[in-house]
Each structure stands twice: as structure tokens, then as C-alpha cells.
């Protein structure tokens, strides 16, 4: 009896803690979206500035996600399938951007692209990253690529190499076996990775701010817009940007939970 009561107490206390946390998060979201009227919100969303921010955010995050996919597929495959010298070191380094504060990453990117001969060489070829939308793409890519990499690595590790073996006996080259068998079997991981990389890209602020700056109607993504408008008291515009970011986050979270439940991000 006493034992049951004690178990009951644990149950009551732990459920209470979870409810408290839920209430805190919900309150926060409700606070933002109800801070202004629906009409004001709608009007703000139609302004040229917010429309620009939406477009730039969509474009940069989609581009950086594609970049993440393009490099993570081969890199994750190598680390999932092959043994080679320095593998564990590479594994750790590839995860490093996760632990690095985005602002620090941004400083690094700024130094690399702004001051080194490598960065200057790229700029001479027309690839200017400092204070340009291209900088936003690179900042998003650098900060978020570990998410894609880790999810894909987990996905590839979860696929028995025997599928590829069979495909090879059935006439595939190594590349074809990957393309026709492993990649289709990874589609959930790929989707989950893309969604999380994309949504984190849309929300990326610190590194982008450092490298691309916060110039109205030039490098103004949604988070930059939120920051700029908050600083100058344009509350309606700021809330509009925040609301869009909330919607994107919630939808992404839903898709990720639906398809990426098996993938290990951390």
C-alpha cells in the first residue's frame, strides 16, 4: 500500500513537471502570435520587406539544404560503410559545428572568406560571401550540415550492406547498387534530414549575422528581419517574422517526428 502510494507520488510529480513545461512552451508561443491583431499581422506579411525576407529565407535555406545533401550523402556513406585511418577523428570533427556557438562559426567564416587569400581568390572569381546572400547560404550550411550528416550516417548504418551485395550480383556496379537500392531505402532519413536542415537554416541567425551582416532588403532573412525590426520598434513586422518562423518550426517538427523517429541526431 505504502509502496503503491510512493509510486503514485512519483507518477503525480513527474506528470506535473511535464505539464508545467508544456504550459511554459505553449504560453510563449501564444504570447508571440497574440501580441498583435490578426489584421495587423496580415498587413505586415504583405509588406515588401517581409515578403523579401520570406523569399530570401526560402531561397537561402533551400540552397544550403541542397548543399548539405550533396556533401553529406557521400561523407555519411563513407563513415557508415568503410574503415579507414583517422575515421574516429573525422567523425568527431564533422560533429564539431554542432557544439560550436553559431556566432563563433560566423567569426571563423568571416575570417576565412574576408581575410585569407583563399577567400579573396573566390571573391575574384565572383564568389563573394562577405555581406552577401551567398554568405547566408554558407553560414547555414556550416552550422547545419552536422544534422544532415548524422541523420544520414545513422540511416546508412541501419541498412544491411547485404542489400548492396545482392544488387551487385544482380548486375549493378557499386554506384548503381547505391543509387538503385541504398538511396531509395534511405528516403525517410533523407526527408527527415532535409526537413531539419531546412528549418534550422531558415532560423539561422548568429553565423549569418557575422558573415552576411544585417542589411535591410539585402541580407534580410526572417530572423534578421525580426532582429532589425525589434531593434527599431517595428513590432508588427517583427511579430510577423516570428509567427512565420513558428509555423515553419512546428510543421518541420511534425514531419521530422513522423519520418525521422528512427534517426539519431544527437
Amino acid at each position: 500500500m505504502l509502496k503503491e502510494l510512493r509510486e503514485d507520488k512519483v507518477r503525480t510529480f513527474s506528470i506535473f513537471a511535464s505539464l508545467l513545461l508544456t504550459a511554459f512552451i505553449l504560453t510563449l508561443i501564444v504570447c508571440i502570435v497574440t501580441h498583435t491583431t490578426g489584421q495587423a499581422l496580415a498587413l505586415s506579411m504583405l509588406t515588401a520587406e517581409i515578403r523579401f525576407a520570406i523569399e530570401l529565407s526560402l531561397l537561402t535555406s533551400a540552397t544550403s539544404t541542397l548543399l548539405c545533401i550533396a556533401i553529406s550523402i557521400p561523407a555519411a556513406y563513407a563513415l557508415a560503410r568503410y574503415e579507414f585511418r583517422g575515421k574516429s577523428l573525422i567523425n568527431t570533427i564533422l560533429d564539431a559545428p554542432l557544439a560550436l556557438p553559431p556566432l563563433v562559426a560566423g567569426v571563423g567564416l568571416l575570417i576565412l572568406f574576408g581575410t585569407t587569400s583563399f577567400g579573396k581568390g573566390l571573391a575574384e572569381q565572383g564568389l563573394v560571401f562577405v555581406f552577401t546572400p551567398l554568405g547566408i547560404v554558407i553560414a547555414q550550411f556550416f552550422v547545419n550540415v552536422p544534422f544532415m550528416f548524422r541523420i544520414l550516417k545513422g540511416t546508412f548504418q541501419g541498412i544491411n550492406p547485404r542489400y548492396e551485395h545482392v544488387a551487385k550480383t544482380l548486375g549493378c556496379t557499386d554506384g548503381q547498387a547505391f543509387w538503385r537500392v541504398t538511396l531509395p531505402m534511405s528516403k525517410h532519413g533523407l526527408l527527415a534530414g532535409s526537413v531539419i536542415t531546412w528549418s534550422k537554416g531558415i532560423g539561422e541567425f548568429g553565423a549569418a549575422l557575422m558573415l552576411a551582416g544585417a542589411t535591410r532588403m539585402k541580407t534580410e532573412t526572417l530572423p534578421i528581419s525580426l532582429y532589425l525590426n525589434m531593434s527599431c520598434g517595428e513590432l508588427n513586422l517583427a511579430i510577423a517574422a516570428a509567427t512565420i518562423l513558428i509555423v515553419i518550426s512546428l510543421v518541420s517538427l511534425f514531419i521530422f517526428e513522423r519520418y525521422g523517429g528512427f534517426a539519431h541526431v544527437f
Binding site: 550480383t169 548486375g171 556496379t173 538503385r180 531509395p184
Partner: protein, 350 residues
């Protein structure tokens, strides 16, 4: 003919050491061995998934050691089916034909032929995840033979199935071999499977081929004690050959006294292997017809399926039918005579 010459491969935990084998055309060849013996690597090396560290592999006198899997014309079936989960049964079976750039209508015709041959024509549009284990394995077999391979490699193909499905699929495998004239190389740890299916068996242990022979040679005439133990020979006696006459040796065995056994070894220390089912039991010495009779007491009776395993205080083990047990009215502690023929004992030098 497949010829494997001195093949070694080291993958850390699993390895092959100096494997040499010859497998004849259209033979049903079983590679038998305990878990971790290196059976799967041997098969995957034959398929071209792994390249041997040393040694060569030939098929019909053409060296294929460095030929990629896709050019070997070898089919592969795994224990866990490895059907492509995102393709239907038809698409799975047609996978290899599509790789060979065959026309859609030809692929369709071949897939239909195979599904009807294996009795899975009603499953064509289903996805592998919705099929039973037996059905999935049939699809995997159909997929492997669709490319008309000369050789079919089977890695524990029946091990994940329930016993009825296993019996049924065993017959299917034999039928496939007869119909298409494919050389089958089948890896298993299951001795019954090896006994039922094999034309010849190679026993693989610790990455080495221990013995190659017909099922009779492997199960009744193993060459070492380890092999004897592996194939279930529970009676291993040690003794000295006293003399031989007309190919029958008189061997002095500790505790048991003199026995007679057909032997090619004429002197020295020997081991005598006798399968438990070759040891018969009788209540009185006079009823025993065989030349070797040994008295003892029953220390244990154990039912295993339709058989009873009888252990004697002389450490001999006999397998008898339940019917014999009832007729002899055997009880623990009973005095009993164990008897076996001179031809049932296999003698190797110690």
C-alpha cells in the same frame, strides 16, 4: 566447375585460411560449419563481394578472382531474404533483368514464369513487408535465378523459417536445381539440412576446410575428434590396436575391453568413433548378434523427439526409438548390453 585455390581472407573477426575446394557442375554442395566458422565470407568471396587476400578462384577454368560480382553470373540468396522493401515482388524478381537492360515485355514474361514455378503468382503486386518468411524466401530465390545464373549461392537460406516451411522449401531448392541445372553452394550450420540436400559436404571450422566428402563420409567417417564431435558422434573411445585380420582390427579399449572394428590402421594408438544410433541395446548377452558386446548400467534416459537417448555408466550413448525403449522396458539403473557392428566403428589414428 568451381575451383577455389588456397584462398585466404582476413576480416578481423571472421577469416578464411588457405581454402581449397572443387565443386562439380550441377552439384548440390553444402558448406557445413558452426557459427563464426567463416562460411558466409567464403560465399561472399565466391560472389565477388570480397576479394581474397591470397589465392585464386576459377569457374570453368576462367579465373574470376578479380572479376566484379555483376560479371560473375552467380546468384545469391541470404537467410534474411534481403528483398528490396520499396519494390513489389515482381519488381524485385525483375531487378536483375532490368539491370541487364532487357525489354519490359521480356522481363514480364520471365517474372511470370518464375512466380508460377514457385507458386507465388498471386503475390506479384505485394510489397515484401507484407509477406511471410517462406514467401519472402521464394521471392528471393526467384530473384536470384531470374538472371539464369550458373551458380546459386545460398547463405543459411532456411534458417529463419519454421520447420514445416523449411521442409517444403528444401524440396523447392532441389526442384530448382534439377529444373535449371544450376550448381548450388549452400551454407548451413544445420546438419539435417546438409544430410538431406547435399551431394557432397565440406565442413568448415575456424576458417579452414576440415573435411570434404559425401554425407555418409562426413557423418560416419569424420577424420578428427573435433569433427566427430561436431557431427554428433558422441561415442569416442581411445585404445590400442592389438592385431588385425582381414581388415578387422582387434582394439584394446580402456574400461570396455577388446572390440573389433573395420580398420585401415594396423597398429598403434587409435580413436574409435561410433554414432549413437549405431549402438543397439539388448537385455541379455545372448540376444546380441553383433561382435562387440559391452555390459553396463543405464544412468540416464532422455526423450528427444521420436528418439530416446540412453546413457550408460560406461560413458557410451545410444539413440533408440521410443518403441524399442517400451519393448525393452528400460529404466534407470537397469543392467544392459550395448552392441555395435565392426562396420559401425570408424577408426582413426590418435
Amino acid at each position: 566447375m568451381i575451383r577455389i585455390e588456397n584462398v585466404s581472407k582476413d576480416l578481423g573477426e571472421f577469416f578464411l585460411r588457405d581454402i581449397s575446394l572443387e565443386i562439380q557442375d550441377q552439384e548440390y554442395f553444402v558448406i557445413l560449419g558452426p557459427t563464426g566458422a567463416g562460411k558466409s565470407i567464403l560465399l561472399e568471396t565466391l560472389a565477388g563481394i570480397f576479394r581474397p587476400d591470397t589465392g585464386k578462384i576459377f569457374v570453368d577454368d576462367r579465373e574470376i578472382t578479380n572479376v566484379p560480382p555483376r560479371e560473375r553470373n552467380i546468384g545469391m540468396v541470404y537467410q534474411d531474404y534481403t528483398l528490396f522493401p520499396f519494390l513489389t515482388v515482381e519488381e524485385n524478381i525483375g531487378f536483375g533483368l532490368k539491370s541487364r537492360k532487357m525489354e519490359k515485355s521480356t522481363i514480364k514474361r520471365k517474372v511470370d514464369e518464375l512466380t508460377s514455378l514457385l507458386g507465388i503468382e498471386q503475390l506479384g503486386h505485394r510489397y515484401p513487408g507484407t509477406l511471410s518468411g517462406g514467401e519472402q524466401q521464394k521471392v528471393a530465390i526467384a530473384r536470384a535465378i531470374a538472371i539464369e545464373p550458373k551458380i546459386l549461392l545460398l547463405d543459411e537460406p532456411l534458417s529463419a523459417l519454421d520447420s514445416r516451411t523449411r521442409d517444403y522449401l528444401r524440396e523447392e531448392l532441389k526442384r530448382v536445381k534439377r529444373k535449371f541445372g544450376i550448381t548450388m553452394v549452400h551454407v548451413t550450420h544445420d546438419q539435417t539440412e546438409a544430410l538431406v540436400l547435399a551431394d557432397r559436404i565440406a565442413v568448415l571450422m575456424h576458417g579452414k576446410v576440415m573435411q570434404v566428402g559425401t554425407p555418409y563420409e562426413i557423418f560416419s567417417k569424420p577424420q578428427t575428434e573435433e569433427l566427430a564431435d561436431f557431427v554428433g558422434i558422441e561415442n569416442i573411445l581411445r585404445g590400442m590396436v592389438q592385431r588385425t585380420e582381414n581388415g578387422v582390427a582387434e582394439i584394446e579399449i580402456e574400461i570396455h575391453g577388446k572390440i573389433r572394428a573395420v580398420s585401415e590402421i594396423h597398429e598403434g594408438a587409435v580413436k574409435v568413433f561410433i554414432r549413437p544410433e549405431d549402438i543397439l541395446l539388448c537385455k541379455s548377452k545372448s540376444e546380441c548378434s553383433a561382435r562387440n558386446v559391452m555390459g553396463g548400467r543405464i544412468t540416464d534416459l532422455q526423450d528427444i523427439g521420436p528418439l530416446t537417448r540412453v546413457t550408460l555408466d560406461t560413458n557410451l550413448v545410444s539413440l533408440i526409438t521410443k518403441q524399442s525403449r517400451a519393448e525393452l522396458q528400460l529404466q534407470q539403473g537397469d543392467p544392459i548390453y550395448a552392441t555395435f557392428k565392426a562396420t559401425s566403428a570408424h577408426v582413426v589414428s590418435a
